[in-house]
Amino acid sequence: MKKLSILVGTLLLVAALCSTALAGEPQDRLRSGIEKVIAILSDASLKGAAKRPDRQVKLRAVADGFFDWRELSRRAAAEGWNKFAPKQQDEFVAAFSELLQKTYIRKLEKYNNEKVNYLGEQIEGNQAFLKTQVTMKDKTIPINYVMIKHDQWMVYDVVVEGVSLVKNYRTQFAKILSKDTPDALIQRIKDKIKSLDEGKNVDDVVGKEG
């Protein structure tokens, strides 16, 4: 009987080791990124409107560390990417990531101790799909991340409630590129950033008729 219990113990230990090994590299990367963001947002010394610029610089540093902006932009531009000259590609990545950071970091600032649960990951080659769930006051929101490994695991798409960020922009960009030049698209993104910077009421920033 004793032998058996030792054996069962060993088995359980092996199983436990296997399952920790299964929470692989991408999830660890994502978790560390999200934890860094939460740490900044709940840091008492960074609270308040006066500390806003500080906070944003730090959040951007974290975001740059775990979002692959080039991969994200390339996929959002889809077929349009090949029509861009290399210089336009760089410009596009810069403008698009600026727009995303500006708007979504502002959204993150509303963080109010919501809890993030990690529901599992799948890895295929150098890509990974991770499921998480954020528990809010009156509902839970499923958020999935798609990651790719060039040098490190980086996020290139976020799927919130079934809506993929990359694909949402793909639709918008494809529509604009079907009528306009790549330069016009880049200019439109820059115009949007400018009007947000000028603190214009969002009310006035409705896109032009596409």
């Binding site: 058996l4 889809a78 077929e79 922009y169």
Partner: protein, 276 residues
């Protein structure tokens, strides 16, 4: 005893062997594709391995490049000009009327009571969910919804307290947040065309039909006289908006063409809900 011992030993050995293999395979997989994958772009969607829910996209004959969600997002929009007009109308309605009212309301009423009101209206919409679940042939989910409704109504102060939120059913039943539009979708109906209605917002041919049905299943519809009914629905709307201030703003700020962004998000989100 002997047999148990042996089977356990075998299980242990198997676990070790398979774990070794899995690790080796993993290593091989993570090394191999590195040089094989230069940054080249393939067309719409065929660079994706997973669809929105994490299912691996089966690639085969032509036309499989898209996920089902992509297909839903390509719902035709023949009335684009008309839709854009109402989109603009709803946008102004939100920023000029709904949002200021909701902000004033949330300034006076703290968040917790507003969540109670949210619970109350959600509980009251039980007929819509129940009928939809029954029509989808999901008796388990319909039964769970019914017991939640009875529990919350009888012991949750008429629905203001969501006391059943933490009680999970024994077996998974999927989402119970259903309406008739989703039911038609579950039956296999297409969106038809994309539509934007004043006051209601983004919709589709299918969801518009569903909305008409939902209207008759909504208890607040039967309040007499009509202006009390409209008042109750208006109040529910303001309460909901007060809990979601900022969501629409973010989407609109972040997008280059807000109309397209909302259209894509609506169609994909509805597609997800059909299958939840």
């Amino acid at each position: 005893m002997h047999i148990l011992f042996r089977s356990l030993l075998a299980a242990l050995a198997l676990t070790l062997v398979s774990a070794t293999f899995a690790l080796a395979a993993d290593q091989a997989a993570s090394v191999a594709p590195k040089q094989a994958r230069p940054s080249l772009l393939l067309a719409y969607g065929d660079v994706d391995i997973w669809d929105e829910t994490g299912q691996i996209i089966k690639k085969g004959s032509g036309g499989d490049k898209m996920t089902l969600s992509d297909a839903a997002a390509q719902t035709p929009d023949p009335l684009e000009g008309w839709n854009r007009m109402w989109f603009g109308f709803n946008d102004k309605l939100y920023f000029w009327a709904l949002k200021p009212v909701a902000q004033g309301y949330s300034f006076v009423v703290p968040e917790r009571p507003r969540l109670w009101v949210h619970n109350f209206f959600h509980n009251l919409m039980f007929p819509v969910r129940f009928v939809s679940l029954v029509l989808q042939g999901k008796p388990d989910a319909a039964a769970v919804e019914t017991s939640r409704f009875i529990g919350n109504t009888a012991f949750g102060l008429g629905g203001f307290a969501d006391i059943t939120a933490d009680s999970k059913p024994y077996k998974p039943i999927g989402s119970t947040e259903k309406d008739l539009g989703l039911t038609f979708g579950y039956w296999g109906a297409d969106n038809g065309l994309y539509l934007v209605w004043p006051f209601i917002g983004p919709s589709s041919g299918r969801d518009t039909l569903g909305y008409v049905g939902d209207y008759f299943l909504t208890p607040a519809t039967y309040i007499n006289p009509w202006y009390w009914s409209a008042g109750a629905k208006g109040y529910e709307k303001v309460n909901e908006v007060s809990l979601r201030i900022g969501d629409y703003e973010t989407l609109k700020d972040a997008s280059v063409d807000p109309y397209e962004a909302v259209r894509d998000a609506y169609l994909r989100n509805r597609f997800k809900k059909v299958n939840d």
